[in-house]
Symmetry: C2
Subunit: 268 residues, 2 copies
């Protein structure tokens, strides 16, 4: 088994978000430990020189050549940067320029094209974040008709971060409502959700995990006790089953995974 | 000038987040209008077949071949998918497998490696989101010593979405405090921030933009009036200048751009 440590640079003339998001792909190599270094706004020759020095220096210290994932529009800057020894993954070389040939269009090369306020559905995303924050944890009942999805589940099962991720990443307006003991006694959803059944998606969770999450917030409480967690989850799952509410288990899923599942459901 | 419309598929055996994040690169081609279609969890031959049908169908309807950005670990699935005519950008082909040669390590090929709960600093990111939500808009004073950055600025200048983005994307704990008329009368920061000057970063904004944002929330109010916006911003900028608080203008910057600027500042 290899036992490697590598420095991974993410160098961009803009925010570095696109280059950085490829960092996730490095997790395909679990035997290598990566130290991530981001260098955004590298848009002048003097900043290119600074980046070169950091690359050369890290190679000297680490022994192995660094991995450099780069998104830089200016061709001269690009070739200047690559003068120093490293393993380069140049998004313009491998992605943008070949795609331009297919599209028969020359790519824009100025910095900051990918994550400007003009692109990527920006206004909708900010509106959706305001919506998610205003409709977190059942805090308001107005405007639910604008929700694209309403997440339900017991307290601390992951509704809030999932709602925010859906908004931030996709501009999807997500409200969320907690299922509480009163709902289980009544055996129905919170009455305010009447008429929205087709937008509702449930999150559930394993009792042991919920116990641990709730114990962080209120240690040694009845609320956090394993027996109470088990009972609430059982009742919530029974309710969702009876009302045929689509749902998924958040225990070992990231907000990225939960969001992808929810989007498939609401679009399908 | 070309006038093209293309379908862009993002096909993945996992969440499709990594493939989808490359969607930002398509904004380098402003003359082409892209319709984005995400197909996550494509991890069986029958789902590959479904995806193929959608690709073939969209080519028939649109006339031009679709762009397919794909992240699929299974080699057989990959070559099966590519049997249908399209412009393929295969992240394993152009990125992961060549990198594996450099690292002398075979990549993991099972689905969902990049965005699982085990990777990408997941626990820290969730903790940071809870922190940002709990320290939004000066709502609590406890735990400020844990903040890595404290954003200040007048109401509606972009502090909340920026705090949440810093948390969600980078696991950075960001609190935020509004600057309000009482602060300007006193001529100092909110007293609770004493001792945290080195963590403070200011956001400012153009009066016309603030007027428009505030008018959405409270139309025709004194709060939203252009003259009031101009005055508050002037006083806030004066305060930041006097206290030498680093700051940036949020008017035409996305949360991605603001976050990248803030990170450079707090790490520099």
């Amino acid at each position: 088994m290899a036992n490697n440590k590598r420095i991974a640079f993410f160098i961009s003339d803009g925010t570095g978000i696109t280059a950085g998001s490829l960092g996730g792909l490095l997790s395909h190599f679990p035997e290598t430990t990566f130290e991530h270094i981001r260098i955004p706004f590298t848009d002048t020759l003097s900043k290119i020189d600074d980046a070169q020095k950091r690359i050369a220096n890290s190679k000297m210290i680490n022994g192995l050549r660094p991995v450099v994932i780069m998104s830089i529009g200016n061709k001269d800057h690009r070739s200047e940067l690559k003068e120093v020894d490293a393993y380069y993954i140049d998004l313009f070389d491998i992605f943008i320029e070949p795609l331009g040939k297919e599209l028969k269009e020359d790519p824009l090369t100025r910095p900051g094209v990918s994550h400007s306020i003009d692109g990527l559905n920006y206004g909708n995303r900010m509106e959706a974040i305001n919506f998610a924050l205003g409709h977190d944890d059942g805090m308001t009942h107005t405007g639910l008709n604008q929700a694209q999805v309403i997440l339900i589940g017991v307290s601390r099962c992951g509704k809030t971060p999932t709602s925010i991720y859906l908004a931030m990443q996709f501009g999807i307006k997500a409200a969320n409502y907690p299922l509480i003991p009163e709902d289980f006694e009544r055996g129905t959803l919170p009455p305010i959700l009447d008429g929205y059944l087709d937008k509702i998606f449930g999150l559930t969770i394993k009792p042991e995990r919920l116990h641990s999450l709730r114990s962080e917030r209120r240690p040694d409480s009845l609320y956090a006790s394993l027996s109470n967690c088990r009972e609430e989850i059982g009742l919530a799952e029974e309710l969702m089953k009876r009302l045929r509410i689509p749902n998924t288990d958040s225990t070992s899923r990231s907000v990225e995974e939960l969001s992808a599942i929810i989007i498939q459901k609401i679009k399908g």
